[in-house]
Symmetry: C2
Subunit: 206 residues, 2 copies
């Protein structure tokens, strides 16, 4: 399976900025996670309308936390975090929903898998500015989680183009990037760089 | 149709307090709206679990804003406010969901009805501590909205047992109460008082 590239918004950019970047990069990425914790459902709706108007397909959008917004907008899926609805409840009520779960340990990963998660987001793997107070978890536990679960694991946290290969060697299904793309001088060039690394890996490992 | 008594939480009470009150009053009321804007989906889940454990039926619960929580918990319905998902989107995605819409003018009321709202919550009718900065809208516009729409209109805002009758004379389908019950010395006695007023009205107007 082709390695995935997820991009996750950081709650710091305006709707216009997110839209401009999304319009440029969406063909190079697997999914854009709308992770805007302070936005109301109405504000998320306005952002999704704007993305749609600018040609960003909903099939590339994953909504953080709000399953109802994901359903109403028929997005690719929903990403559940610690503060979200329980994955098992969501799976039972929305059998066709693609559910991602954010996990930080093997126990959480196995729990999420058991509850019906379609993929896991695990991190943070490397040191990152957005989690500067916490030590990174490193490559080893990522590898362990990949081995001990059977759903795709997407790695997140401080991943740069130059260590994509190291991450994928763990068996991770892909990577997720926040500032590495959204705060790059050229988000488009940054997305292309990551994408290129994933493609090189794909070609070497068919 | 019997006049309705809705009770709406105010975001100021703990889960234990809400549960204790709900356990006491649920047989006297039509619905308890969980309107806890700062609670995450996980925290709402914990509250709903606690309510359920204490014998409060989900068929008496209306969830503010979070349609996904309402679906997962099979509550009576959802209440949409200004910052919520658009009622038309929710109606299309969840055809069987009971949808209440909070409205503040005839225009908003007609708009909500057109979008598929099952009932409207209109206010605030009388002066109330929780909206102390705003003038109350009064009985006249309530009467006007009841006449110009064909969905049940529940009146809210500063309604006391002694003016229930005046409110119902507008044709309103019922009343909604926050502090009048939740912050009463005895929420149970307060709920019974309101309920009695509604029943007197029902008996005089069969």
């Amino acid at each position: 399976m082709k390695k995935q590239l997820h991009v996750i918004t950081n709650g710091k950019q305006t709707g216009d900025e997110i839209t401009r970047i999304a319009r440029d990069i969406h063909t190079y990425i697997t999914a854009l996670h709308i992770r805007e914790k302070t936005k109301t459902a109405k504000e998320l709706t306005q952002l999704l309308e704007q993305l749609k108007r600018n040609g960003v397909p909903m099939s590339k959008i994953i909504i953080n936390d709000r399953v109802d917004v994901a359903v109403c907008w028929q997005t690719k899926g929903v990403q559940l975090a610690y503060h979200s609805l329980d994955a098992a409840l969501v799976r039972a009520a929305f059998p066709d929903m693609m559910i991602g779960c954010s996990v930080h340990s093997l126990e959480e990963a196995q729990n999420a898998e058991q509850k019906g998660a379609d993929f896991l987001l695990y991190g943070h793997v490397f040191w990152t500015e957005s989690k500067r107070e916490q030590d990174p978890r490193g490559i080893e536990p990522l590898h362990h989680i990949v081995e001990q679960t059977s759903v795709p694991v997407i790695a997140i946290g401080g991943i740069k183009a130059e260590n994509v290969c190291e991450v994928l060697h763990t068996g991770a299904a892909g990577i997720a990037v926040m500032s590495g793309i959204l705060e790059a001088e050229s988000p488009l060039e940054a997305a292309k760089n990551y994408k290129r690394e994933l493609e090189v890996w794909n070609e070497l490992n068919v």
